[in-house]
Every structure is written in structure tokens, then in C-alpha cells.
């Protein structure tokens, strides 16, 4: 009985290893998507900061609707040229207590926002949290975490990265496969 338990216990890490090897192509795909998404979010955050930094416009905006599931609110405001504009107030930049407060807001409530001079930049930021928004890294953590986990799995099983990069991939990978499955 003890022997049986011991052999089963011996097989658990092996099976886990085989599982990691089998999912590694999917993990690589996820890593590429995660990496592109990370670059995209960094780029859009930078563009948003640039637009908001051009001219420091602040105003009072009126809430039109809030979506707790999507974690954002839509606001309405009049810009410095007297034109009525719409904006999106994303909650990801604010601490927990502020998002709790944002969740309680209703239509026609008023908030102080900073908005961009550029008419097609619809994102607005709460004035009192603007400094926090400038140094915000939450957009990195969101996708960066997925990329990091995928990277760790690929460090253990990088075989999928060798496709079309080595002349005799089958033979090279076979040695490791046999070692994992205990054939060698």
C-alpha cells in the first residue's frame, strides 16, 4: 500500500510537468496577447497624460450615469469654449474609498474634473487625484501579471519557442520529454 502511495506521489509532479508542457503553446499565445495589450495600455495612458498635460483645464462636470460593473461613469460638462462635451471617468485610478464613493453617485451629481484640450480625448480625471493618476501603474499590473505568470511557465517549458528555430527540434525536445515521463 505504502509503495502504491509513494509511486502515486512520485507521479503527481511528473503529471504537473507534462501538463505545463502541453499547455505551453497556449501560454505563449497568451503571453503575446498580454504583451501587446500591455504595450497598448501603456501607450494609451501616455497619450492621455500628454493630452491632459497640454493645457490645465478643470471644470465641474455632471454625472449622467455610472456603471459599477464596468467601473466607470459618464459625465457631461461645458468646456472653456462654451461647447457641451461628454467624458468618461474611469475608476481604476482611484483608491478603494473613492471608488466606493463614486459607486454611490447618481445622475446630476457634480464632480470636479480635469479634461483635455483635444476634443477627441474623452477621458476625464478627478482633480483631487490628478497627481495620483500621473504616477498610476494599475494599467501595468492588470496585464503585466498575466505576462509574468506566462513567462514563468515558459521558463520551465520553453519548447514551443524553439519551433522553426532549431534544425532538429524533435530530437532535442525528445530528450527532455523522456526525462519528464521517467523513460530515461
Amino acid at each position: 500500500m505504502k509503495e502504491k502511495v509513494r509511486s502515486i506521489l512520485k507521479w503527481i509532479p511528473r503529471l504537473f510537468n507534462v501538463f505545463l508542457m502541453l499547455i505551453s503553446p497556449m501560454v505563449y499565445l497568451l503571453l503575446i496577447v498580454g504583451f501587446i495589450m500591455t504595450l497598448d495600455t501603456i501607450g494609451s495612458h501616455r497619450r492621455m497624460v500628454e493630452k491632459l498635460e497640454e493645457v490645465p483645464h478643470t471644470t465641474e462636470a455632471v454625472i449622467t450615469s455610472c456603471y459599477e460593473d464596468g467601473r466607470y461613469c459618464f459625465v457631461e460638462f461645458v468646456d472653456e469654449n462654451g461647447i457641451e462635451r461628454y467624458g468618461k471617468l474611469d475608476w481604476i485610478y482611484y483608491p478603494e474609498d473613492t471608488t466606493d464613493w463614486l459607486a454611490t453617485l447618481e445622475r446630476d451629481d457634480v464632480v470636479n474634473v480635469r479634461y483635455a484640450d483635444y476634443r477627441f480625448e474623452e477621458n476625464v480625471v478627478l482633480v483631487e487625484y490628478y497627481a495620483r493618476f500621473l504616477n498610476d501603474k494599475s494599467h501595468l499590473i492588470q496585464n503585466g501579471g498575466i505576462v509574468l505568470v506566462c513567462w514563468l511557465i515558459l521558463i520551465i517549458h520553453p519548447e514551443v519557442l524553439l519551433v522553426l528555430l532549431t534544425d532538429n527540434m524533435g530530437k532535442t525536445v525528445d530528450i527532455k520529454w523522456k526525462r519528464i515521463t521517467g523513460q530515461q
Binding site: P158, L162, L165, T166, D167
Partner: protein, 291 residues
């Protein structure tokens, strides 16, 4: 951007990919086919046809000028060609491996010199960092010229990482994406921008793959993969040290002359010099390799 310029960008893109494919052929080519005068290879013919068809299309678009039809064609082709190019680069960089040119120490030094000289001319780096990077490149250059043995496998991996980092940095500091979207392109600049776009984007995507691969070599079980991978990325044959120094001096002179005369935008010249360094210059003659 006009229709002829758009076509020139993607002609440059295609020509660069075909050139990379042709250069990579040496990894698989047999030394002697037995035919004494084989004539132009199939790949050379394809490159020739692509150049000719591309030139005819650009000429026709230029003659047609700007009108409703060419504007309509531009709108359609811009998104189709961009999508196709990005998909191709994604597959070739993230999954493929054939298009990557094999490089050695001299290629890597020349790319580093191009990148550093571009950073200097655009004053991208702050002063203390400029001196530090320049000294670092100089020390590395001298160490690699006077080395007695070729770098070990570990050294090759580190040098290749440095090479990819330099290319990623080049793409970043020259703001190449912004250059590509710039409105001030003529046909020649468009052609060069297209070929640099192919080269840099391919390497930037491959950098992601290689960084993961090289970190996986930290585990002893994966180290067996290092030799077969580097065999296809790193070449051991190289030109003689004096030839290398002469070519490097020419590259530096061209870079300085362009900085003074402003013939090409800095980002384009850096890209062109990088492509020439890795694909044309520093390639020993075939008789040297065989002997």
C-alpha cells in the same frame, strides 16, 4: 501620405523580407550544386519581379496623381496592407525563425555604434549616460577585436541579447512608429521606412521570444537547447579585424556627414545603416568561409 508613397513603403517592406529570406538561405544552402554556371537563383528572380512590379505600380500611381480613384484606393490599401504586414511580422517574429539574419560580434558592435551615434546626434541621452555608453561600447569593441577565441555559448547568448536590446532601443529612441506615420515622406524615404519597419518590427517581436528563451537557459534542463538555437542565430565566420575597423569608420563617417548635411532623417539613416551592417557589410567572401 499619398498612394505612391504608401506603395513605396510596402514595396520596401516586401523587398526587405525577401532579402532576409534570401540571406537566410545560406543556413540551408548546400556548398556545391555541381552546376558550373547556375544563373540567377529562383529567389533572385522573385526579388527582381517584385521590384519591377512595385516600380510599375508606383509609377502608375504617380502618373495618376491625386484624384477620387487614387484616394479611394489609398483608403482601402492602407488598412489592408498594414493588417497583412502586421500579421506577417507577428507570425515571422513570434513563431518563425528563418528570416532572422545570423550575426556575429562585428555585426553587433556596428549596430551598437549606429545606435549610440544616433542617440548622440539627437541628444537623446543625458551627458553622463552618453559618456558611459560610449566608453562601454569602446571597451566592448576593443575586447571583441583583440579576443583570441570566439565567444562561448553563454557569451553568444549575452551578445545576441545586447544586439536585440540595441534594436529595441533604436526603434524606441528614434520614435520610428511616429516617423512611419509622418506626413513628410517622399517615395524614396517611404521605401527606406518600409524596409526598416520590416527589419525592426521583426527583431522587436523576436526579442520578446529570445528574452524568454535566454531566461529559460537558467534551468540546467533547458541548456541543451542553447547550442541548436544559437547555431541558427550566430555566425562564427567573420571579416578580418582591419576590414572591420575600416567599415566601422565608414559607417561613423556616413553618420556624422548626415548629421552635418541632413540628407536623411536620423531615424531613417540609423535604420538603413543597421540593415546594411547586418545583411551586407561584414560578410566574409565565400572563399574565405570555405577555406
Amino acid at each position: 501620405m499619398t498612394l505612391p508613397t504608401l506603395l513605396a513603403v510596402y514595396l520596401g517592406f516586401s523587398m526587405e523580407c525577401l532579402w532576409l529570406w534570401d540571406s537566410a538561405g545560406e543556413k540551408y544552402r548546400k556548398p556545391d550544386s555541381g552546376i558550373k554556371a547556375p544563373g540567377p537563383s529562383k529567389m533572385t528572380q522573385i526579388i527582381g519581379y517584385t521590384a519591377a512590379i512595385g516600380a510599375v505600380l508606383i509609377g502608375a500611381a504617380e502618373l495618376a496623381g491625386e484624384n477620387v480613384v487614387t484616394d479611394f484606393l489609398y483608403d482601402i490599401l492602407a488598412s489592408i496592407l498594414m493588417g497583412a504586414a502586421m500579421f506577417f511580422v507577428l507570425i515571422a517574429g513570434a513563431v518563425g525563425g528563418r528570416l532572422l539574419p545570423r550575426v556575429n560580434e562585428y555585426h553587433i558592435i556596428s549596430v551598437l555604434v549606429v545606435v549610440v551615434s544616433t542617440a548622440y546626434s539627437s541628444s537623446w541621452l543625458p551627458d553622463p549616460a552618453q559618456i558611459g555608453v560610449a566608453v562601454g561600447v569602446l571597451v566592448l569593441t576593443l575586447a571583441l577585436i583583440f579576443q583570441r577565441k570566439p565567444p562561448s555559448l553563454f557569451g553568444q547568448v549575452l551578445l545576441y541579447l545586447l544586439y536585440l536590446a540595441a534594436l529595441v532601443f533604436l526603434g524606441y529612441q528614434s520614435e520610428f512608429i511616429a516617423v512611419l506615420q509622418g506626413p513628410l515622406f517622399n517615395i524614396q524615404e517611404g521605401f527606406l521606412a518600409g524596409s526598416i519597419y520590416a527589419f525592426l518590427s521583426l527583431h522587436v517581436l523576436f526579442a520578446l521570444r529570445f528574452v524568454i528563451l535566454s531566461t529559460s537557459f537558467l534551468l540546467p534542463a533547458n541548456r541543451t537547447y542553447a547550442a541548436p538555437v544559437m547555431k541558427n542565430l550566430y555566425r562564427e565566420d567573420q571579416v578580418k579585424p582591419w576590414a572591420f575597423l575600416v567599415i566601422l569608420a565608414v559607417i561613423l563617417l556616413v553618420s556624422l556627414a548626415n548629421n552635418w548635411l541632413a540628407v536623411l532623417p536620423d531615424a531613417l539613416l540609423a535604420g538603413v545603416l543597421t540593415i546594411l551592417s547586418t545583411q551586407l557589410l561584414f560578410r566574409p567572401k565565400e572563399r574565405d568561409i570555405l577555406s
